[in-house]
């Protein structure tokens, strides 16, 4: 799908969430779902397999998000999957997240960690990233076991990498 179309979907979803007054919640849930789709091939296939009936794919979405995400988020995702755009859902979620951050004069800070961060750690990390980049950040925590340990933060074009995975890769390169 073209960037304009992805941008169009993201803008429409943002405006719906804004109209419903749940922008932050929708943005956060969509972002989390997008990362889950990226990392889970089975889920990605279930949502993007066009050989499956639309109703079947939408049922998967409702079973997946029902009770775990807001109604608006579930309906928006169901709409995207029903439109046959499930493959572009991560890109749409990213656009929506950037748009929401931009509207609140913040920058998306994607942080990958192998373990969950406490709210207090998230706050301190957000403050530290704001201090380091000079920008207000919209923190997005992604649990990624591949990093092994530590954190890697991506704010715009800036990447701050403190993961064990990267250290191991550097060690392997030196070896």
């Amino acid at each position: 799908m073209s960037d304009a179309r992805i941008d169009g979907y993201a803008r429409a979803m943002y405006e719906i969430a804004q109209a419903e007054g749940v922008v932050n919640e929708v943005e956060k849930e969509l972002y989390t779902l997008a990362r889950a789709i990226e990392s889970n091939e089975q889920l990605r296939n279930a949502l993007t397999d066009e050989s499956l009936p639309v109703e079947r794919r939408q049922t998967v979405v409702e079973q997946l998000l029902g009770g775990k995400a807001s109604t608006v988020t579930t309906q928006l995702v169901s709409f995207i999957v029903g439109s046959g755009r499930g493959r572009e859902l991560p890109a749409i979620a990213d656009k929506l997240s950037k748009r929401a951050s931009s509207e609140s004069h913040r920058e998306v800070a994607e942080v990958r960690s192998s373990v969950a961060l406490t709210p207090e750690q998230q706050q301190r990390l957000s403050d530290a990233l704001t201090k380091a980049t000079g920008k207000q950040v919209n923190l997005k925590i992604i649990i990624d076991p591949l990093v092994l340990g530590g954190l890697v933060a991506t704010v715009g074009d800036t990447v701050i990498d403190g993961t064990v995975r990267t250290r191991l890769d550097q060690l392997k390169s030196r070896l």
């Binding site: 960690s113 961060l117 990390l125 201090k131 380091a132 340990g149 403190g162 191991l168 070896l175």
Partner: protein, 183 residues
Amino acid sequence: MNIFTSIFIASEAAGPPETHSWIWPERAEIVYGCTASILIFVALIKFGGPVIKKGLSARTEKIQKDLDSGKNDKASAQAEATSIRAALGDIAAERTRILAEADAQATALLTEGRARITAEMAGLEQKAEADIAAAAARSGDELRAEIAQLAGVATERVVSSSLDASTQQALIENFISNVGAAR
């Protein structure tokens, strides 16, 4: 009886003639005999002498010619012998020269062959050493890569097993502290 028998019988009947000396003939016989002898000698000297002289001269000339011819033949034979000896000498010299030339060519070929074989062997040795060095380097590189890979895998496993909850929290706290202190 024929006439001859009759004459013989008549003569025998007359008896042998008798001379005045039993050694010397009759004077007339001496005169006639000497005169006839002189005449014969003169005739011989006058008519036979030149012929004999001429024959002797021809014979002498022929003998001289034969001697000269023999001399010439001898000289020719000697020249021929000298030529043959010289030719023999030339043949020996040519044989020696050919043998020396063959020896020189053989020596040159041997030297050239040795030099070529030595150069080829040196080239082969150099190539073999280069191949061995390349193989050793390649093996070394492969071994190093294998060791590095195994070391990487082992390190990752050791590190992963040592990353307990407290270590994870320490890493997170360390990251937050470092990022916060970065500016």
